[in-house]
């Protein structure tokens, strides 16, 4: 097994100024990862591939993760002056974390038989700052997987030789694996739906003007 944390420390000394952060995973799998700043991704990848002690020559998997904007509520204790007395008051502070897209790389070494080393890189946001450098010039196996992420998540990879949609057609505009994707409303309902599905099916199938009186009478 490789020690991700020591690799992080070595990277920090070898490539000073690069945005490298060790992300521990406290779960039983303990698959910790390295969070790399997008601009330094190529330099880090090249170092990991060339270093004689690690030689990560095999990029087995590239995948995307969509993180929506989320608000975290935290309770903070503050001292406040209430009626001339100093009191400790709990206050909830809302913190908004902007959404971002994340790309995860799994690296293995074939000659040294170790891995995986997990790299992550994040885009600035989910709308206009979605570019990351492509790792296809370093690992050829990234080509189709980056095209798939471009297709399904909308991350654009700078330096990719042929960045087109892989699974959906070229005219398609959405990114289906994003969490706010709205799929086309073409679901075919079963003949005997019930509950909320029945409501959706009614709105879908029968004109509401003719159906409305009969609906109030039944049940």
């Amino acid at each position: 097994m490789i020690d991700t944390e020591s690799i992080a420390n070595e990277l920090k000394t070898a490539l000073p100024g690069c945005g490298i952060e060790f992300v521990a995973n406290p779960s039983p799998s303990a698959q910790s990862s390295l969070l790399i700043q997008g601009t330094d991704l190529v330099a880090v990848a090249q170092w990991l591939k060339d270093h004689s002690e690690y030689r990560f020559d095999y990029l087995s998997n590239v995948t995307g993760v969509d993180h929506l904007e989320k608000t975290i509520k935290e309770k903070v204790k503050k001292t406040q002056v209430v009626d001339g007395e100093e009191q400790e008051v709990e206050e909830t502070v809302e913190q908004t974390i902007p959404g971002y897209l994340e790309v995860v790389y799994h690296l293995y070494s074939m000659p040294l038989r170790h891995g995986p080393l997990i790299l992550r890189a994040r885009t600035g946001n989910r709308s206009n700052d979605v570019a990351l450098p492509s790792l296809t010039p370093i690992w050829r196996s990234a080509e189709f997987q980056e095209r798939e992420i471009f297709d399904l998540y909308g991350v654009t990879f700078d330096g990719h030789p042929d960045l087109r949609r892989l699974l959906m057609w070229d005219e398609f505009e959405d990114h289906p694996m994003r969490k706010d994707y709205v799929e086309p409303d073409d679901y075919e309902y079963e003949p005997t739906p019930h509950g909320p599905v029945l409501e959706r099916a009614n709105a879908h199938q029968t004109p509401p003007s003719t159906d409305a009186p009969s609906e109030t009478q039944s049940d």
Binding site: E171, F172, E173, D186
Partner: protein
């Protein structure tokens, strides 16, 4: 023709039939399928055509690699929305009379991918399907059963009258509009001539 006379003649080695019967006998025993498969159902279709199940017994062993020579389209597998226009185009290129067997859960309804965004929820949204086979995938016996069902349907067609075969009718469509790739979905999402959404029993 009188059945008694026919039987009497056959005892003397004279075979009699109708032109319609002869015509349908020839048609139903030389239905050549189009050679294409879309997913795992195609493996069962291939198995059906090989020696163990031997689709050749039904005159359908000649899988044609060109739609111009095919009579039957076996839609064997998942039809993705990206593939649907090509399937419709292949159907349009087939000469009349032509038939469609929708093989497997995906081809008849979308199957396990029905709630997905990129799988067509049944090929009958764009094409007139003659025989549907459920199953995931259907066994070769099921495909042979569907094939025999299609043969019976061909046999029941007549040369004249309202039940004429497809190629003798002018009121059936030979070509269907090929759906276009849209920004969010195929356009149109279905052909109202071949498919209408099922009405739910409870909403009436």
């Amino acid at each position: 023709m009188d059945e008694g006379l026919r039987g009497e003649l056959s005892k003397h080695g004279v075979f009699t039939t109708t032109l319609e019967g002869l015509h349908n006998w020839g048609r139903r025993n030389s239905v050549w399928p189009l050679q294409f498969g879309l997913a795992c159902c195609a493996i069962e279709m291939i198995a059906t055509s090989m020696a163990r199940y031997d689709l050749a017994r039904f005159g359908a062993e000649v899988f044609r690699p060109s739609p111009r020579q095919a009579d039957l389209m076996i839609v064997a597998g998942t039809v993705t929305k990206k593939m649907a226009p090509q399937v419709v185009r292949l159907y349009n290129q087939m000469p009349e009379p032509k038939y469609v067997i929708a093989m497997g859960a995906c081809a008849i309804s979308g199957g396990p991918f029905k709630q997905g965004y990129n799988v067509l929820k049944g090929i009958d949204r764009y094409l007139p399907v003659d025989v549907h086979i459920p199953g995931c995938p259907p066994r070769p016996e099921a495909l042979i059963h569907a094939f025999m069902t299609l043969q019976r349907r061909i046999d029941a067609q007549s040369l004249t009258g309202p039940n004429r075969a497809r190629h003798l009718r002018s009121d059936v469509d030979s070509e269907f509009p090929v759906p276009q790739f849209g920004a969010h979905d195929l356009h149109p999402p279905s052909n109202p001539k071949t498919w209408t959404p099922p009405q739910s029993v409870r909403s009436q």
